[in-house]
């Protein structure tokens, strides 16, 4: 326990102080760990004693398949994944912006009548509610929904990424908008700027550089998500990986997975470099 050694005067001697709150937290964490491990059948012995199939699977991946046909399929899959992630982030950002603007707490309504307050609260809560739904449903579930509605292919995958991105970005945008220094915004309002004007000239300019950075980060996340959306038939390289797995074509799987890792790392690096430059 990290409690500082405290000498209680009058009690005599140094007695380590035990904080019952910390003890309780430790107990709860330990309890949850045991409960969860039991629930999922967590077994290290099984992992290492039955490692044969894993070993076989991995060894069968080598050497990876570098035939022209496989490389072509990999290239197509990667490109598709890239396109899906980019469009998904872009559409998501465009949809997120107005929702974030509505879902941002504006200046206090000092002295406003109840009906005015209500009128302002409705769009706020509506936008927040929509964003929460968009965000809390994972993109792979959105992909399932759109595949059922629109059929297989990268288009439903792109829509799935767009909806989920809109939810995530909308929340992050509105948090950024709310966190900007409020004094300049208040100053604008106190000289007669409307809510829209103080948003446009006060909050937005102060938040804009963060918006770009957040959107790039969401694109990064979309690249990662897009690789698995293919598992439910929503296009991208994941679809190729799934097909090759089902055909036990492990060398091809190796090429596809390897290419995916390289692209994800490259986009990560690129986006991080751009974002570093944006900060001022």
């Amino acid at each position: 326990m990290a409690s500082p050694p405290t000498e209680h005067t009058g009690v005599g001697g140094a007695i380590p102080r035990v904080d019952w709150k910390i003890s309780l937290i430790v107990l709860v964490v330990l309890g949850l760990t045991g409960y969860s491990a039991y629930g999922v059948g967590f077994d290290l012995v099984e992992l290492f004693s039955n490692a044969g199939p894993v070993e076989r699977f991995v060894s069968e991946m080598f050497p990876p398949d570098f035939s022209t046909a496989t490389l072509q399929a990999t290239g197509t899959g990667i490109l598709e994944t890239f396109q899906m992630s980019f469009l998904g982030a872009l559409i998501g950002a465009i949809a997120a912006f107005p929702l974030a603007a509505l879902g941002t707490q504006q200046a206090p309504t000092t002295g406003a009548s109840n009906s005015e307050r209500l009128l302002r609260a409705i769009p706020y809560h509506l936008a927040r509610f929509l964003l929460n739904i968009f965000r809390s449903v994972p993109d792979i579930l959105w992909a399932l929904v759109f595949v059922v509605a629109l059929g297989l292919g990268p288009f439903p995958g792109t829509l799935a990424l767009a909806v989920h991105s809109a939810g995530v970005l909308g929340k992050l945008y509105s948090e950024t908008l709310e966190a900007v220094p409020s004094r300049p915004v208040e100053a604008l309002r106190s000289t007669g700027a409307s809510g829209f004007q103080s948003f446009l000239f006060g909050r937005l300019p102060q938040a804009a550089s963060n918006f770009t950075s957040l959107t790039l980060y969401q694109w990064e996340c979309n690249i990662r998500s897009a690789t698995i959306l293919g598992f439910v038939g929503a296009g991208g390289i994941g679809q190729q990986i799934l097909i090759s797995m089902n055909l036990f074509d492990y060398p091809k799987v190796a090429t596809l997975v390897g290419a995916t890792i390289i692209v994800v790392l490259a986009v990560d690096r690129f986006s991080a470099a751009v974002r570093r430059r944006l900060v001022y």
């Binding site: 002295g111 300049p184 100053a187 604008l188 309002r189 000289t191 007669g192 000239f201």
Partner: protein, 291 residues
């Protein structure tokens, strides 16, 4: 400066009746009743946390009242519809210790925002996307010229020095030509030269008809105003001309404020600056004053 046309569509007579504002259990303003005539100039002094900034926030309806009322031109400020409130606020110009400009926008756009209250939706979009239109931009150029920043119109505000930013804030006032100027410790963070320049412009605007209410930490500057109002613990302790504000009264006003002493011994300039520095820090902690 040539002539300052003052729009008389708005009557800026102010009257406060028993205004009380509390933050939790702490009273920031307690039963404050004052009247300010159009065109008056009035300096407000008081120790840190005396309620000076809260008074300003009440005058723009930026804080809820716990008692009393404020009327502007004979109308109850706290009962105005949001449209009428906008009309009243449009005629109020503000300038703060912390400038409160939008750091990412250019100095020119910040000055142009003096007219934000008068802009329609179309003009708002235009200024946002393409910058001020020729008419407004001419006013902005003239205003920036007047404060000596003619060449800084396109500079990003955050790249300007503190004194320059405060002059941009003055340029914003010049563009706005408000009927009521609320200046919240505008000199606390700027150099003496800027102080004189800003004060001069504020007084010129006042001479042209704008009511000027100014919060000051510096009693010597306050003495240059015809009327001084002193607040202590949210109450009006003094309201009158500087000639009857004596040392005993000042001692009462600042009693218990560790950042200001009003003994007659000459105060070393460095020590004085240090005290003002401390005062600023303290003001920041009270959560009321502008930062």
């Amino acid at each position: 400066m040539t002539s300052l046309p003052n729009k008389s569509s708005y009557d800026s007579q102010l009257s406060l009746e028993g205004v009380t504002v509390r933050y939790g259990d702490v009273a920031a303003l307690e039963e404050v009743s004052i009247a300010v005539q159009p065109g008056e100039s009035l300096a407000i002094i008081g120790a840190s946390g005396a309620g000076k900034s809260t008074l300003f926030r009440a005058l723009t309806r930026s804080v809820a009242l716990d008692g009393g009322g404020i009327s502007v031109g004979g109308r109850d400020l706290y009962r105005l519809s949001s449209r009428d409130l906008k009309q009243v606020r449009r005629r109020i110009g503000t300038i703060y210790q912390a400038y409160n400009l939008i750091p990412q926008l250019s100095a020119g756009v910040n000055a142009a925002l003096g007219e934000v209250g008068a802009m329609g939706a179309l003009q708002t979009a235009r200024v946002f996307l393409a910058g001020p239109e020729p008419g407004l931009s001419k006013k902005v150029r003239a205003a920036l010229q007047e404060v000596g920043l003619a060449d800084k119109a396109d500079a990003r505000t955050t790249d300007l020095s503190g004194g320059q930013q405060q002059r941009v804030a003055v340029a914003r006032l010049l563009v706005q030509r408000p009927d009521l100027i609320l200046a919240d410790e505008p000199f606390a963070a700027v150099d003496p030269v800027t102080t004189e320049k800003v004060l001069e412009t504020l007084l010129e605007l006042n001479g042209a008809g704008s009511t000027l209410i100014i919060n000051l930490h510096d009693v010597e500057i306050a003495r240059r105003f015809p009327r001084i109002l002193a607040l202590r613990e949210g109450r009006v302790l003094f309201d009158g001309p500087p000639s009857i504000l004596d040392e005993a009264k000042l001692a009462e006003i600042y009693a218990g404020d560790p950042t200001v002493s009003h003994d007659k011994e000459p105060v070393d300039a460095n020590f004085r600056r240090l005290r003002e520095e401390q005062a600023r820090i303290l003001e920041g902690q009270d959560g009321i004053s502008a930062h």
